[in-house]
Amino acid sequence: MSRSGPDTARVAATPDADHVLPPAEAMLWAQDLVKTHRGAETATHAVRHVDLRVDRGEFVAIMGPSGAGKSTLLHLLGGLDRPDSGRIWLDGQRVDGLSEARWSLLRRRTVGIVFQFFNLVTNMTAADNVELPALLAGMSPRQARARREELFAELDLEDRARSTPAALSGGEQQRVALARALVNEPGLLLADEPTGNLDSRNTRDVLRLLARYHASGQTILLVTHDARVASGADRVISLFDGEIADDTALHAPADGPTTVADVLRLKG
């Protein structure tokens, strides 16, 4: 499987790049992404000319200190924010020019997102939070319920279905958020510091779940500042001041998925 590190990506960003087709095996392909946050007097260059490729079934972690532009990059890739310039292909489709509404439609089936602060809809029960995207994607209430029950069984949330987010612990909330992100079986799971607000036990649980879904073929792009969390990935990209500083493969994909415990042992 080819890697598109910074050097190879720049080659692709030629003037007639608009006619370039993404490689068939790329789930996500971004070229020359730029995003600047402009304040009243200051401009923060959050993302500078980033090229990135995530293949199907790959688990990629983006690491970096706070303020490195990790979350901004993730938001750009999930269509939550718009790049100033650059191109993005998602599942073979050019998406950087999509309208907000088209992005919403795309996210329903193709992208699941998990956040650091869980961001569950506060008024809705855990069950409703998970069934809502399923209904949006066109499932019948019966199907949505069946799918949600299946996920809750996997995530050990069966007895929390009627609870509101406020009544759930942090770990439970993040598992509900994970269920919500996965309910429509998206091609890509984006996770923004999913363990940032959890204690070590819950962190371990969430990572184990991510690893399990990765093992079943889920493509995952995870943002974290925690090296231990990143170590579960196939590949770790280091972001510094909005630029990719390093792109390292941890395991050959042929090795198959690894468990967090393996990684932790490896890294010492």
């Binding site: 946050h37 402009r38 304040g39 009243a40 200051t42 938001h75 999930g78 269509g79 939550l80 924010d81 907000e100 509404a101 992005w103 919403s104 439609l105 996210r107 329903r108 997102i113 961001n119 569950l120 809809v121 506060t122 008024n123 809705m124 029960t125 409703d128 069934e131 809502l132 995207p133 209904l135 949006l136 994607a137 209430p141 919500r180």
Partner: protein, 769 residues
């Protein structure tokens, strides 16, 4: 759609109280609009119904006995003629009660134009020459039933007992007692017996027209054709209709205006509440977008939710109005009963409902649109440029006020646009409450200071069967009577005009009647007159002008020196000194005496005393006070103040919540800096109280201006005349304002304390959106 419904359901469950408040407010507004609609229809309808069924005449003309009315039937546009009928004046007597009556001679066959609609009993019968058919409002007032007898007293004092054969509706004139004399039909032979002198017989002729709008023109043509000396009275269908509908229509209009204002206020409250909810749910909305809601779907969420609430409120209101409306006491209940039987009801209900729901949907549109524009990612927003402290806060610091006050005033006004909007939204209900208080004060004015509002005399006494001197003696002997002014009223024709106004001679040169003047001065000379607004409108005249009227065949040229407030007869009154009617035979006899009582005297008691002292030879009646009829307005005012208070409270809750959201991080910083929780609470309460004070000042000021203008406009339109508006007493306004500020402070204490209890770290890490 399913996902949308799922969210709406969850949201409603989470905000049960707020949702219930919205539904309740909408329901109350729906009820008041439905009641207004029913009253308005009821006000316009009885006449319309009767007029259609009876093929009513558009113009009625009373002429002297000898006049030839044949040319009238040939006037252009006349499609049918009623009469001419011979008529005579008489009195209908029942115990001590006596009412003036127009007896109209009719045949045993019902006419085809202006046909009386017999409601009970039967029409005149040649076999019963002593039979009489009474107009239904008169029969009701006299409690005369079919089969019973009534006593008719002729002009010469002779009495005659007549049997009531039937009771009939008629669109020929307004209902008794608003319209006098009352109407009764008898056979021509009976009329001849009651009034044997042909000189006192008049003729009444009704003209049915092709174009009802040309009634005024036709009436004028008729007067020209016959000569104004022959015509004694002209009425058009418009006058009859307005006389029949006036009371309820005024009430209906009031309810309608109040309902609409409440609707606007509720729409604003909805906009505020929805806006507040959008701000409160920025994170959730961003999340909804993340999981795949499109911006249009987010807009629809809010629109659907509030429209559903409005629909629920509307259904509740319509249900309540239909179920309980007819059970309401008085005119409201009756109107609702009639309304329910009406076929047009469904349409009116649908229109009202659509209006209410649409306004609320429109009010939600802006906040919903804003919700649609909330970005999907919780993006980093550049901090607002640090706003300097406001002028008010600077002043507070300069005056070395406690920090809570200084910071509170900064918190209130540091975002001027938002503060302005909050003040405006709060000011609207306060303004309307002030208008409602103004209406209340005006009614109080009618009741407590009737003299200033054209009701100096509270009783009238009409001598019957005793001479003038004896009557005068009886009145002056009564200690409670401060003054008795001799008066006479005759219909007067205004040249070039089609309708008659009442020429009232009241008071004498050395004993002038205390008219309540809104402009000009009192009558000082015999050719001077004061006129009510209604009369001025009819004559197209202004104070200071000269007018010519014909009364009783005699032309009078009068100088209008003042406008007085006339609560009666739609203000169509031209008042002169009794001497002005003096002919060659000297000053005319007084028809009645207007009695001004001593302060504190009870009119009912005085009336009883006078009736007893005169052995029934003085017909003493209380002067109708419009405040008595408008008693229902007070109920409406109280209800309105309730609704507006509810709306104001809803606004206040929104304002406090959004204010807190704005400042939650600042408050955390302040606490971290060392302000005590109590000081922080004080800052929030001060900020809310300051905003409310600004709203009270603006709302009360505008309200007073608007109230005076609205009430005077109403007075002018109803003929009473501008100048009746009374301001709510300053202490009432002060009290209301103080209560509003106090309530606002109390309402903000709860969320303020809650905010103070939140952990400082939580406040500091709060999302700043």
């Amino acid at each position: 759609m399913r996902a949308l419904l799922r969210w709406v359901r969850a949201d409603l469950r989470a905000h049960r109280g707020q949702a219930a408040l919205m539904v309740l407010v909408t329901a109350v507004i729906a009820v008041s609009l439905i009641l207004a609609n029913a009253l308005l229809r009821d006000a316009a309808n009885p006449w319309q119904r009767i007029f259609l069924q009876s093929r009513g005449a558009h113009v009625w003309i009373h002429v002297r006995s000898g006049a030839d009315t044949a040319p009238l039937t040939r006037l252009d546009g006349v499609t049918g003629v009623a009469g001419p009928y011979s008529t005579a004046s008489a009195d209908l007597v029942r115990g001590a009660e006596k009412v003036s009556l127009e007896l109209r001679a009719a045949g045993p066959q019902l006419p085809s134009v202006a046909r009386p609609l017999v409601r009970s009993g039967r029409w005149l019968d040649p076999a019963r020459s002593d039979g009489i058919v009474l107009e239904s409002s008169l029969a009701r007032a006299m409690r005369a039933d079919v089969g019973g007898t009534v006593t008719v007293r002729a002009r010469d004092g002779a009495t005659r007992t007549m049997r009531v054969l039937g009771v009939a509706d008629s669109a020929d004139q307004g209902s008794y007692p608003d319209w006098t004399p009352g109407l009764g039909w008898v056979l021509p032979t009976a009329l001849d017996r009651v009034e044997p002198d042909p000189a006192h017989i008049q003729q009444a002729i009704g003209l049915r027209l092709r174009d009802p709008g040309s009634a005024d023109f036709t009436a004028q043509q008729a007067v020209t054709t016959l000569g104004s000396g022959q015509v004694t009275q002209v009425t058009t269908w418009q006058q009859v209709r307005s006389a029949m509908g006036q009371d309820n229509r005024l009430l209906g209009l009031l309810l309608g205006v109040f309902g609409l204002v409440a609707l606007v206020a509720a729409a604003l409250a909805t906009a505020g509440a929805a806006g507040g909810r959008v701000l409160a749910q920025v994170r959730d909305i961003a999340m909804l977008k993340t999981v795949g809601f499109t911006p249009a779907q987010v807009v629809r969420l809010f629109l659907y939710e509030h429209t559903a609430l409005a629909l629920a409120g509307m259904a509740l209101g319509a249900g309540a109005a239909s179920l309980f409306g007819p059970l309401l006491p008085g005119a409201l209940g009756e109107a609702m009963g009639v309304w329910q039987a009406e076929p047009a009801r469904a349409g009116a209900l649908a229109a009202t409902g659509a209006g209410v729901v649409l306004s609320i949907a429109l009010a939600t549109a802006l906040p919903a649109w804003r919700a649609g524009r909330i970005p999907a990612a919780p993006t980093v927003r550049a901090d607002r440029p640090a706003s300097g402290i406001s002028r008010l806060a600077r002043l507070a610091l300069l005056l070395k006020l406690p920090p809570a006050l200084a910071l509170g005033s900064r918190a209130a006004f540091h975002r001027p646009l938002r503060a302005g909007l909050t003040v405006a939204r709060l000011a609207i209900p306060i303004m309307m409450i002030t208008v409602a208080l103004g209406s209340w004060a005006t009614l109080d004015g009618f009741q407590d200071h009737p003299r200033q509002l054209g009701l100096a005399a509270s009783l009238t006494a009409r001598p019957s069967g005793i001479d003038d001197a004896a009557a005068r003696r009886l009145l002056t002997e009564q200690p409670a009577v401060a003054a008795a002014y001799p008066g006479a009223e005759i219909p007067a024709l205004v040249p070039g005009e089609t309708t008659t106004i009442t020429l009232r001679a009241l008071g004498t040169a050395d004993h002038p009647y205390p008219f309540a003047l809104a402009a000009g001065h009192l009558i000082r000379d015999e050719d001077e007159a004061v006129a009510g607004q209604g009369a001025l409108n009819l004559m197209h005249a202004k104070v200071g002008e000269w007018v010519r009227v014909t009364a009783g065949g005699t032309p009078h040229i009068l100088h209008i020196v003042g406008r007085d407030i006339e609560p009666d007869h739609n203000g169509e009154m031209l008042s002169v000194d009794l001497g002005a009617l003096a002919g060659p035979g000297g000053t005319p006899k007084a028809q009645y005496y207007a009695l001004v009582l001593r302060p504190g005297a009870n009119p009912t008691a005085v009336r009883t005393d006078l009736l007893a002292a005169s052995h029934g030879r003085l017909d003493v009646r209380p002067v109708a006070n419009p405040a008595a009829q408008l008693g229902l307005v007070r109920v409406v005012v109280v209800g309105l103040v309730g609704v507006l208070t509810l709306i104001g409270l809803a606004e206040l809750v929104t304002a406090t919540a959004s204010g807190l959201r704005d400042h939650v991080r600042d408050l955390g910083v302040l606490r971290a800096m060392g302000l005590t929780p109590r000081q922080v609470t004080a800052i929030i309460v001060t900020s809310t109280a300051l905003l409310t004070t600004a709203a009270v000042l603006a709302g009360t000021g505008l309200g007073v201006l608007l109230s005076n203008r609205l009430i005077n406009m109403e007075g002018q339109a109803s003929g009473v005349g501008a100048g009746i508006a009374r301001m709510p007493a300053p202490e009432t306004l002060l009290m209301a304002g103080a209560v509003a500020v106090a309530v606002a402070a109390c309402v903000s204490v709860v969320p303020a304390t809650r905010a103070t209890r939140a952990r400082i770290t939580a406040a500091l890490s709060a999302n700043r959106t």
